[in-house]
């Protein structure tokens, strides 16, 4: 049917050719405006790119294929979310302590997905090459998806449990949420190459399995079908993002040898930053999941020491070494979860979720999982605190902790090889002293002090009086600075914070489900019927 001179049958295109034709030629060399005025952010970091076309598109997705593929995933996911909501799936989780882990998630993680979406959008605008820009656009859209699906699934929990109802407000204000917030803001405020090495490689490629596998399995173990569903649906996006991460590294390293030391510096920095952020998962895995999947030290062994080891062996041919502070992470793996939980417990009146001390059953598990550290250093502490609780004089911190200028965790970590000495570091800059929790964070500060002095350290701000709502009068006779600071942070004192036992969540849970709010302790209230699970606990306690 083709016209004369056009009689050959149309060529069949394979996926790669189709993608190349539909994508590669879209850009052009500008001639009316200078390239450096159009793409203003790609030069200041010192990365050398000779040929953007050497970028191998890792996804090879045309937009129509993206819509169809993702649209199908969304149809399936929302069918589950709808069913979950209609059937009150929030009451099918193991117990109400599990929900405390979800609070950390919605308040601390969901906004990171959003910041990631915006950060990738900046790359989508600023990279001169078509291939990397399209990759960044699709990841930006994916990250928007993750923020959206997390909000849509967790909103059901937020209707029935405390402390999840103000997540964007709290993310900007709560003292410990500055840990994730400052992490991502550090990345987005960097240059585009540092951002993509930080997020696509150090975070997504090296560390993301650590977040996904234990956490998703944890949700599955504990009956949280909504979280499992959005998590596994997001995981197929993550697979693409990880491909992008390794592609970015290879592209940068192959473009010019001058990029190698820059990339190494960013890997060292962002591995440590990412590790400090994700070690929040250590407490979640070891303490907050009523039914545990694996211990933090096991996860670190599998997902960093083994997988990361193989990765960095592979990158050695480019002259890339394993992250500088990796040995510290291995030395700490038997301690971080316990040290963090202790600090949260001690400060439980100032956090937006409820806390408990580990049960006998849980401590037995930790003794088994942490034979070299738990019984020696942490069991005695918990037993002392249990005795204090029993005596009616529970231990609490009445002041807020010193924060690290870089990672913004309280300076709660101990020296490698000396778990009874706090690890404290300091640096002088422009006549002032800044405090860090570790050598890893001190390295980061010392490299760019002019950036980190701007950190909005919540505890400093609270003590400087900058964290009160308008109209609060610090000279009023009944002024309570802690209560006022909590109100500023969006935490309802006496509702969102404090002890799990006796909390609204625990009491409502037993009233609504007739099951114990803490499966390891039996019923707190007489709303719990004598079900099999309660009988189990009673029997175990008696035994």
């Amino acid at each position: 049917m083709a016209a004369e001179g056009n009689a050959k049958p149309a060529k069949k295109l394979n996926l790669k050719e189709n993608y190349a034709l539909l994508t590669r030629g879209l850009g052009w060399e500008p001639s009316y405006e200078k390239k450096e005025d159009i793409f203003r952010n790609v030069d200041f970091e010192g990365v050398v790119i000779h040929d953007w076309d050497k970028w191998e598109d890792p996804f090879r997705l045309t937009m129509d294929a993206y819509w169809k593929y993702q649209g199908e995933k969304e149809r399936k996911l929302y069918a589950i979310v709808d069913a979950f909501q209609q059937h009150n799936g929030q009451f099918n989780v193991t117990d109400a302590r599990y929900v405390q882990a979800l609070k950390v998630f919605i308040n601390g993680i969901t906004e990171l997905e959003y910041d990631s979406h915006r950060g990738f959008n900046m790359l989508a605008r600023e990279f001169p090459g078509v291939g990397p820009r399209i990759a960044a656009q699709m990841q930006s859209l994916d990250e928007l998806r993750h923020a959206t699906t997390q909000i849509h699934t967790i909103s059901q929990y937020a209707k029935y449990f405390t402390g999840m109802n103000e997540f964007p407000y709290q993310f900007d204000r709560v003292w410990y949420l500055s840990i994730p917030k400052s992490f991502f803001e550090d990345a987005v405020t960097s240059g585009p190459f540092e951002f993509i090495v930080a997020i696509s490689f150090a975070f997504e490629y090296v560390l993301t399995n650590l977040a996904f596998m234990p956490w998703m399995s944890g949700a599955a173990f504990n009956g949280d079908m909504a979280t499992v569903s959005f998590g596994f649906s997001a995981q197929s996006d993550e697979a693409r993002h990880m491909t992008l991460g390794i592609e970015v590294i290879k592209f940068l390293l192959e473009q010019d040898p001058a990029n190698v030391p820059l990339v190494q510096k960013w890997i060292d920095k962002w591995f440590w930053r990412g590790y400090r952020l994700l070690s929040l998962l250590a407490t979640m895995m070891d303490y907050m999941l009523p039914k545990r999947v694996m211990a933090w030290n096991e996860a670190w062994e599998i997902y960093y020491e083994q997988n990361g080891g193989a990765l960095f062996a592979d990158l050695a041919r480019y002259g890339i070494k394993p992250p500088k502070r990796a040995p510290e992470t291995i030395a700490e793996k038997g301690h971080v979860a316990h040290q963090m939980w202790s600090v949260f417990y001690a400060n439980r009146d100032a956090v937006g979720f409820q806390m408990w001390l580990p049960s006998d059953e849980e401590m037995a598990w930790m003794s088994e999982k942490y034979p070299d550290t738990f019984d020696q250093y942490y069991r005695p502490r918990y037993e002392y605190w249990k005795a204090q609780e029993a005596a009616g004089t529970p231990f609490k911190n009445s002041t807020l902790p010193q924060l690290c200028q870089v990672c913004q965790w309280p300076c709660l970590f101990t020296e490698s090889g000396d778990p009874t000495t706090l690890s404290l570091r300091e640096s002088e800059y422009q006549g002032q002293t800044f405090h860090m929790c570790s050598d890893g964070c001190k390295d980061i500060f010392d490299d760019t002090p002019e950036k980190y002095v701007h950190a909005w350290l919540p505890v400093h701000q609270i003590y400087q009086g900058n964290c009160f709502l308008p109209g609060v009068d610090p000279t009023a006779p009944d002024f309570n600075p802690m209560v006022e600071a909590l109100r500023y942070m969006g935490i309802k004192p006496g509702v969102d914070n404090g002890d799990f036992k006796g909390s609204a969540d625990a009491t409502n849970w037993e009233k609504w489900t007739s099951r114990p709010a803490n499966i390891h302790e039996g019923a707190y209230t007489d709303a719990v019927r004598d079900t099999a699970s309660t009988a189990d606990v009673t029997a175990r306690k008696a035994g």
Binding site: M1, A2, A3, N6, A10, L13, L26, G27, W28, E29, Y32, E33, D37, I38, T62, M63, D64, W67, K68, Q70, G71, E74, Y78, N88, F91, E111, Y114, H117, R118, N121, M122, A124, I134, Q137, L141, L144, R145, A147, T148, T149, I151, H152, A158, K159, Y160, F161, N165, E166, P168, D172, R173, S178, S182, E185, V188, T189, G191, W456, W512, T513
Partner: protein, 331 residues
Amino acid sequence: MSVEIRTKGVKPLTNSFGHLQRRFGDKPATRYQEATYDIQSTANFHYKPLWDPTREMFDARRTAVVMKDWYALKDPRQFYYGNYTTTRAKQQDAIDRTLDFVEKRDLLRSLSQDARERIIHAIVPLRHYEWGANTNSAHVAAYGYGTAITSPAMMNTADRLGMAQHISRIGLLIDGNSGDALLAAQALWTDHPDWQPLRREVERLFVTRDWFEVFVAQLLVADALVYPLFYQHIDGALGGGGSSALSSLNDHLLRWYEETAKWIDAVIKTAAADSAENKALISGWVQTWRNRLAPALQPIVQRVLGNQADDALASVLAALDARAAKLGLSL
């Protein structure tokens, strides 16, 4: 063991998130509301961006437009990621059937050489216009303020890549997947006098920093001229060569444009109504870019439409002016 749950009569503690209750009252929220309102950080930023050290990471001062509430700029389509992707997937399924129909019957390849060359000359270079719109939309999504405007800008960024690829497919349907039509169109875009004035303005937009100005210039002004000119007027003229197949492919672009215009109009109308200063600013931008883009389109329109060109340009400009007036602008 089956777990018995007494869920009947369990009243939620709250019907929606606190930030939604403060806006809409204590009632169940829609998924659009949950995914959109107040999501972007607004306070206590930690570091000065290395790429813009005098402002915050998210900063309302990246445009001269000032809004009392940036979340007033809502999207009447109420798109969030899920309904956005499923909507686009469905639309793509429909256009795929048309593409398949045209390909199987060689409808574009069987046109006369002259007709094919006219399509390559007048339509296929617009894939680069769409890629430019993608860049500009990404600028809005990256540096805009508030999720209400940046989320749909993100979706528009993706849409523009989709449209660039749709137009590329028209080229491939003409050249039998050799890619020759795309190469020819790129050469036209970068070198042919008919296209240079438009490319000049697209590149000028790449160095325009105020994201709201970029929004106005690209999504309101440029698109309001380009879409009806090429996919109605020029489509009609090319169709005179016997190509209803082309019209059925262009129709996809027009339908998308009409849907998107609802969002653009809602944003402009709300922003202009927010203050006299906004109205003056946006009106000025429309005037400036209208006066740049209309002459920039003249040569290519002239080439295809000949003595119909002035009428066609006048008609799309009149439609733009009427639309601007309806949105509360004064040109």
